[in-house]
Symmetry: C2
Subunit: 329 residues, 2 copies
């Protein structure tokens, strides 16, 4: 399976992490996707895997020359939409950093092109494959908490140092679409309902000179069947915290409450006394699952519909926060 | 200090829990505040403390006869406003179950009367005195997390069996004002900012035949200085959970994150490595602190302003959820 990687600003490394599970994956070309982006990091990663990926200056030239089976896109976030469109226009399977686009108009264009292209597409909502989230979601599918009613999710990161393109809404897209997308995705994925509306807030105060970058955000979603979910998002995790991120989800249902925190899954329901800690399932490598899907051998956990819906939810939440209005889907 | 108690449907027991700390507190009279309410439970509590409280049928008669220093009101929640008004009209100090009223018009009347009355008033937002919350709040005041930016709070209760008056919005008031008031109060108290607006949701689905009672709710508040806070509220805690409630607050600031969960306080900041668990402070008895305030010897943690603001926040959040609109303060 021939793979090209555009950009080196997101989680292109998903491709490399799948190689042990699927040795047929070959990275044949690497190119920047944004002006000023250095893609050599990805070429080095390929080298470490014993592969020689050609480093191109122009990703369009790379796509036309290499004719890959799959392209992984992870350039500056504000360029996702443009690059993704080029990939779909060439009818190549697309594994794309989230959000798929940072403007709604671009997202609509992309969705139209996707429908015409007859290819596979997944956004890098790869935290679904973290063992704790993967385990909790399967428990919910198995009925551990009954009907899902109320969800809360958290993304809290250390600020650390951030590349310059994080400072500008045009290149960064915003903290809700970048960091928040995962929390929004968990809520949507666990809810198993359709989005109805969103109210949100964000603030760039105290951002240590990082321009437009929002340090904190809240998104409140309404879903079908009066299911509701809230995401709290911040870059306020102290530098001395024991881990980079503090990812959480709590799902309360009619028959129990399940929760992911500190990489563990806890469940309370009326099947047993007290709080149970669930044994973690082995999660497969995300990109290996996507590669299978491309070969028609199954489906990865992130459908194209999910990829578009979650991106749309991020952009509408950002709009809700900008305008201080409830925005409907 | 002569105290009368109206009703037996809330947390009138705060009065008895203060007697060890302040033996001058005497409960002299007890009466129902709502039609069909049985107040004898409060008389029995007084008896257990070696006090003989007279049981009245009519609380107005009790107030006029006993001329107490303080009245504690805890009748059916829909009657709080009416009874509180009777107390304030008699210029008696008021220790009142939250919410102070269940309709905004009543609350406005009450606030006018309070301003005219020159008495002390506190709503029973007594969870501020739970050792973990008390300790965390003091740490925030001492600068442990810098400027507060993002708050989340949780109230999750077992549903259990509920009295009939919980089934009707008119007598119950709603889950946001009843259960949610504590979470909203923590957010407000820790934020140290003024309310700006609220977006909210609630759902009465799957309420086990309990009429209007909402099983789940979300409230998202905007405060001054772009501080933001979210409360998630539910009755979805399973019967076999180890405790009745799962109360939490998380406060993220510019220099750290502090959190209350499972009755413990954890702090991460850059003053020390890793996660610290704070030693819990001894919290005084809430009503003993209020009794001191009545004697002019200090201030309890819940000011009259806080009591009115938090009640207003609850009622505006309920309105936001009913109408699916952002409501401004």
């Amino acid at each position: 399976m021939k793979v090209c990687i555009v950009g080196a600003s997101g989680h292109g490394s998903f491709v490399f992490r799948a190689m042990e599970q699927d040795p047929s994956i070959k990275v044949v070309g690497v190119a920047p996707g944004s002006e000023g982006e250095d893609a050599s990091k990805m070429a080095k990663m390929a080298e470490k895997q014993g592969q020689s990926a050609k480093l191109y200056d122009d990703y369009r030239e790379m796509l036309d020359q290499e004719k890959p089976d799959v392209v992984a896109v992870n350039c500056f976030f504000g360029d996702h939409g443009k690059v993704n469109l080029e990939v779909l226009q060439r009818r190549i399977h697309l594994f794309a950093e989230k959000p798929l686009a940072t403007e709604l108009e671009e997202l609509e264009l992309l969705e139209k092109e996707y429908k015409a292209a007859n290819v596979e597409l997944a956004a890098m909502l790869g935290l679904r494959y973290l063992p704790a989230f993967y385990t909790a979601w399967h428990a919910v599918q198995d009925g551990a908490i009954g009907q899902v009613r109320l969800l809360t999710a958290q993304k809290s990161y250390r600020l650390g140092t951030r590349p310059d393109f994080f400072k500008d809404r045009k290149t960064y897209g915003g903290t809700i679409p970048w960091v928040g997308s995962h929390a929004i995705d968990w809520i949507y994925w666990f809810a198993g309902e359709e989005f109805v509306s969103v109210a949100a807030q964000h603030s760039a105060m105290y951002n240590n000179g990082l321009g437009d970058l929002e340090m904190s955000a809240l998104c409140q979603f309404r879903f079908s069947n009066e299911v509701m979910g809230s995401a709290n998002i911040d870059y306020l995790r102290p530098a001395k915290a024991p881990t980079h991120g503090d990812d959480r989800v709590r799902v309360a249902g009619t028959k129990g409450v399940i929760e992911v925190m500190d990489g563990k899954v806890t469940l309370i329901n009326d099947q047993s006394e007290g709080i149970q800690e669930l044994a973690l399932l082995d999660a497969p490598a995300f990109f290996a699952e996507f590669a299978k899907q491309v070969r028609g051998e199954g489906k990865c956990l992130v459908s194209a519909k999910d990829s578009f819906e979650v991106t749309k939810a991020c952009l509408l939440a950002r709009e809700a926060a900008d305008k201080q209005e409830i925005v409907y889907f």
